[in-house]
Symmetry: C2
Subunit: 253 residues, 2 copies
């Protein structure tokens, strides 16, 4: 996808997947500092949190989340990092006409992606951000930090009843025999049910939500919503990067 | 070219140019050991000799030349290296129907490429390998080592008279105002005049040789001749790599 977007924008750039052994992550990031013809690295599982100790400068949101999913070199050859999972999720919602502002929201699973989404929803003006995680302490920590930004936040159960925006930010749904991550029994038909899982596009949670009349938001839109902020972080701003072209390609994918 | 060849052979592999700062070469090679989805690195200027200290295992020819132009990881994540400049030059000659066997040959310039070519010509059965270099000591060293393989070798001047295979292995000819690296005044019209310079394809030396009725061998054929041995070193042997398809693509380039 990225290589196609680069080509479409007339940029002589490719995106190449590099599978990096966890034991060699530090050496890999140190060695990559010698590269003189690259934009940066998109970081994914299992390196999003582990990369943090090799990154010198963090955006505020990456610092809050405690993870990066895109890094680039500064002029002094130090790593600078950002995480755009959360803004990507919100951008994906907005692109499909769903403004999260004012919604009572529930985020289930507050690992890297879920934490980023919780903060991004708060910033996007939701009425409240309830969070759930199997690690209660982690959930409480995220709720406290989100609440500190001025948006009500607390630890809830994984039950959609009473919310009008619920998000699965756990990996549950990737395997066909996974249990549902969120109870939908009392869900309001007007509720938006979102997922971070990309494959399958329609998880069991989303299929179930769709049958109950809810609005569904598959994980692919969160991924698409990250393109523009990632590109911007990598230095591809306006003039170098045609956001309309991006949107056109993405919608055709 | 490599990416096209990979695609043609049904391999999900790309070749990506990486510009590496000399000061970071060691760290880069150390970091690349963490990669789990790559075949290896094609090494070029200015890293061919400098990489040597990071390479644990060398082929005999790479050891002789004191440089590598292709490296891969062993199972123990150490670098193993080869240099195929010389065999590439000989393969390029043969592909165009010019067998070097029995020819009195002169190699001008015995840096990495020239030294590799001198050894490869000796192995290909030339009658003799005269060498010239502006660094006389280096020329004498290469001549002594080639002679030790059983093929007559000595230090000569850069004069084609009396030879029937002469090779420019200096960078002279890349710039339009470079002097001719080899004197052609007394050259035999049956002589093969080869060049390692790739751009321009027809150097002044080759144009001059062509006008004198000599057979010319542009540098591009040496590069093409390296494809199959490089692929083999990277583990793409028969069954995985269609040598005929390679030759077809190369001839169409």
């Amino acid at each position: 996808m990225w290589t196609g977007l680069f080509r479409l924008n007339g940029l002589d750039v490719v995106c190449v997947p590099m599978r990096v052994a966890s034991s060699g992550l530090g050496a890999f990031l140190e060695g990559a500092k010698a590269l003189r013809n690259f934009l940066g690295l998109i970081v994914t599982i299992p390196h999003k949190a582990a990369s943090l100790e090799h990154v010198t400068t963090l955006t505020e949101r990456a610092g809050r989340v405690g993870a990066v999913n895109v890094i680039r070199l500064t002029e002094g050859d130090e790593w600078s990092g950002d995480t755009v999972d959360g803004v990507g999720f919100v951008a994906g919602l907005r692109r499909r006409g769903h403004d999260p502002a004012g919604r009572r929201s529930l985020v289930v699973g507050v690992g890297g992606a879920g934490t980023a989404i919780a903060f991004a929803l708060a910033e996007a003006g939701v009425a409240e951000v309830a969070v759930f995680d199997v690690d209660e302490g982690r959930a409480a920590g995220v709720a406290a930090h989100v609440a500190a930004t001025g948006v009500p936040s607390w630890v809830a159960t994984a039950d959609a009843a009473g919310f009008d925006l619920v998000v699965n930010a756990t990996p549950l749904g990737m395997a066909s025999d996974d249990p549902l991550p969120i109870t939908l029994d009392g869900v309001d038909p007007g509720c938006i049910v979102g997922d971070v899982v990309v494959h399958p596009e329609m998880t069991k949670l989303l299929t179930d939500a769709h049958e109950r009349g809810c609005i569904t938001q598959p994980g692919v839109h969160m991924m698409d919503g990250q393109i523009t902020p990632m590109a911007a972080f990598l230095g591809l701003g306006e003039g170098q990067w045609d956001a309309d072209a991006v949107a056109k390609v993405v919608s055709a994918l």
